[in-house]
């Protein structure tokens, strides 16, 4: 999105009050279906999470998380099937290793780990999904926007040019 369209798009009311922005990377078979169940069960929860569906938590790359922060996310959720339940038998085990290591790296670099939530949510755990979202939103409201990350670019005078050229190539 260029800055121009963005400001046009946003209604005036939303401009006033900051709202948490959370991106969730979830697997198709368990967590996505769990979120569906929360819907069919009409469980009310916070509207700040945007789900991006992948076939399996094993597909989720560390760059997805970094890119989400680059795009202004204040928090990231990663969720897949419980151990033993993976539709593809082992994708969640690989994901678990990967994110165990990667979270340690983020923590070491000073990331507030309350901004990155890893979870197992089964297709039957609509309630758990709703609770996790509410919890994450509450935490991030407390923490406020992820200014530290956002200012990494904001300080940079080349910002505008970079954004445009990104859109051409990406």
């Amino acid at each position: 999105m260029s800055d121009e369209t963005k400001t046009e798009d946003k209604p005036a009311a939303a401009e006033k009050e900051w709202q948490p922005r959370i991106i969730a990377f979830v697997c198709n078979w368990c967590t996505y279906a769990g979120a569906d169940l929360a819907g069919t069960s009409r469980m009310v929860y916070e509207p700040h999470v945007r789900i991006i569906k992948l076939p399996c938590s094993g597909r989720i790359d560390v760059s997805f998380i970094i890119k989400a922060f680059e795009q202004g996310a204040d928090g990231v959720m990663v969720s897949g099937c419980h151990p033993g339940d993976c539709h593809y038998t082992a994708g969640n085990y690989h994901a678990r290793r990967r994110f165990g290591g990667f979270r340690d790296l983020l923590e070491f670099c000073g990331f507030d780990m309350r901004r990155v939530v890893f979870s197992w949510v089964s297709a039957a755990e609509g309630k758990k999904w709703a609770d996790l979202v509410n919890e994450a939103v509450a935490k991030i409201r407390e923490l406020g926007p992820f200014k530290e990350y956002q200012k990494l670019l904001a300080e940079d005078i080349w910002r505008k040019e970079e954004t445009n050229s990104d859109r051409e190539t990406g």
Binding site: A33, P47, R50, I52, P55, R59, K67, G91, T163, G170
Partner: protein, 668 residues
Amino acid sequence: MSRIGVFVCHCGENIARMVDVTRVAEETAKLPGVAVSVDYRYMCSDPGQNMIKEAIREHKLDGVVVAACSPQMHEPTFRAAVVEGGLNPYLCEMANIREHCSWVHTDKELATQKAIDLVRIMVEKVGKNQELFPIKVPVTKRALVIGGGIAGIQAALDIASGGHEVVLVEREPSIGGNMARLSETFPTLDCSQCILTPRMVEVDRDPRITLYTYAEVEEVGGFVGNFKVKIRQKAKSVIADLCNGCGDCWNKCPQKKIPSEFDAGLGYRTAIYVPFPQAVPNTPVIDRERCTKFLKDKCGICEKVCTLNAIDYTMEDEIIEVEVGAIVVATGYDLFSVGKDQPNEQWTGYGEYNYDAYPDVIDGIQFERLLSASGPTQGEIRRPSDGKEPKSVVFIACVGSRDPEKGLEYCSKICCMYIAKHAMLYKHKVHDGQPYVFYMDIRAGGKNYEEFVRRAIEEDGVLYIRGRVSKIYKDGEQLVVVGADTLSDSQVQVRADLVVLATAIVPHRDAYELAQKIGFGCGSQGFFSEAHPKLRPVETNTAGIYLAGACQAPKDIPDAVAQAGAAASKVQLLFSSDELEREPIIASVNEATCVHCRNCIRVCPYSAITDKEIKDKKGNLIKMVAEVNEGLCLGCGACVAACPSKSIQLAGFNDEQVFAEITALGSG
């Protein structure tokens, strides 16, 4: 620039109540690449679908986003609609603004913003979507069945009855498996041989079944519909085509004292032998490790007595290659053999039962042989040590089962029933004898099973003692069984002439090796893993490979037969068309940038990725890369995340698509 159509559904009031659908359509219409954006009361209705089809034609759309319910609900509907509109189905995506939005939120403004974002994600994704086409894999309509016990026999017969060729491989000289060794079967007490033998003969007669006995699967390559199998036919030293099974050779063989495997060591066989009289095929084999001809180059009597010149000492192992479309694994079980060589180091314990030391402590299968009319005692109950009729027999349940301390955690399932059967049959043969059973619980779940156990207790006077046995020692000619009776809270001692241990059921000792060879999974106890414990109980995780019988878990005969029938019907389903259609959501390798670190090969749960050599015209190796087998890949994408240079990508969820989805939410 793409030309994407956005179709926002009201779902009656379901969505429209909480999401300002008109605004969603208006806002998303402004997105770059969106050619048309409309909202409608029921997108899934015929008029709704027609709206999409017409819009595709009118606006020359190259992508469609339907903002409605969960794709689990209506993705097939809308993909079918875009196909009718002239688009590839994979150019249609759904934004879930019902289950994930309108149904779970109460702030209309925020819910509407979220809905706009969810549509935006999908608009950006669809812009990167590519046309995908189902992968077609040819199917070889011939099945391999590994193991010729009752499960393998049933599977082979069923598949053959469906009109398909079957290759049945059995490692022993005859088919029949463990069931052939049983005397009578619970809960009906019909003779095992009598119900099994006709099926064995049917296998032999069926022209669609090729039977390899005394043979083993050596190698399995390929994938569903297209397996290439190598079978090692061990040298039988007897030419099957010439032999008529007259028996002169084994009757004249001077090596008469070889413990019979079939009789579990209680009887003897010769060096040239058929394992049992009703063997199928009825061709003998020479046990080269025991035969004097092979050991000392003497004897040669069998060759001399054979009038058909069927004996061939120079015969060699042969490798037979077959192509099959499906594989049924039915390798059955072994018994946890207390105190003897164990296939697994952890299986120790029970030295206190002196199974090895006292000949009159035997296991269940040995007792079956004593009961069997074709067994070493012609069905008379004689104890191994002195051939006397035992007047008191103790049966001990759960030897190895349900005992993680010394044996295995799981229940072997069939022992409670066969103990009741053993005790009952013993009583039928030795009227003045007394059977005792030491047990933990009686598990008799099954049609007429509980009634059967009650009969043993109430009509045949079997004495059940609830408790474990702590030791067995010898006193004169008798054995003293020391145990607890937990119901009367006391120590009991029973003097017995014979003790029968109901040892646990364990996977065949080569099961793990076979699973590795073929490429599917084993659980922690070594039983083969089904794809899903409830919904896919006969499939493995490798497409085209199915399970039948006790190789998957301890099972009795009816369960094994039922599973074999189910596996056979899965095979026939696979064989019902000439080509297999598979979802094109699979991985592919960019050979130009792949550096063959093999990460993808290691993480792939389906062994779908292999090494590939890239050679120049002269055949010199340029480099190694990874290669995806389209027949095996199921599209999880673990390989993509594991690839450092992103040289492997998953169609439908490639990096460009995910990148577009994330940046769709971006602020720059």
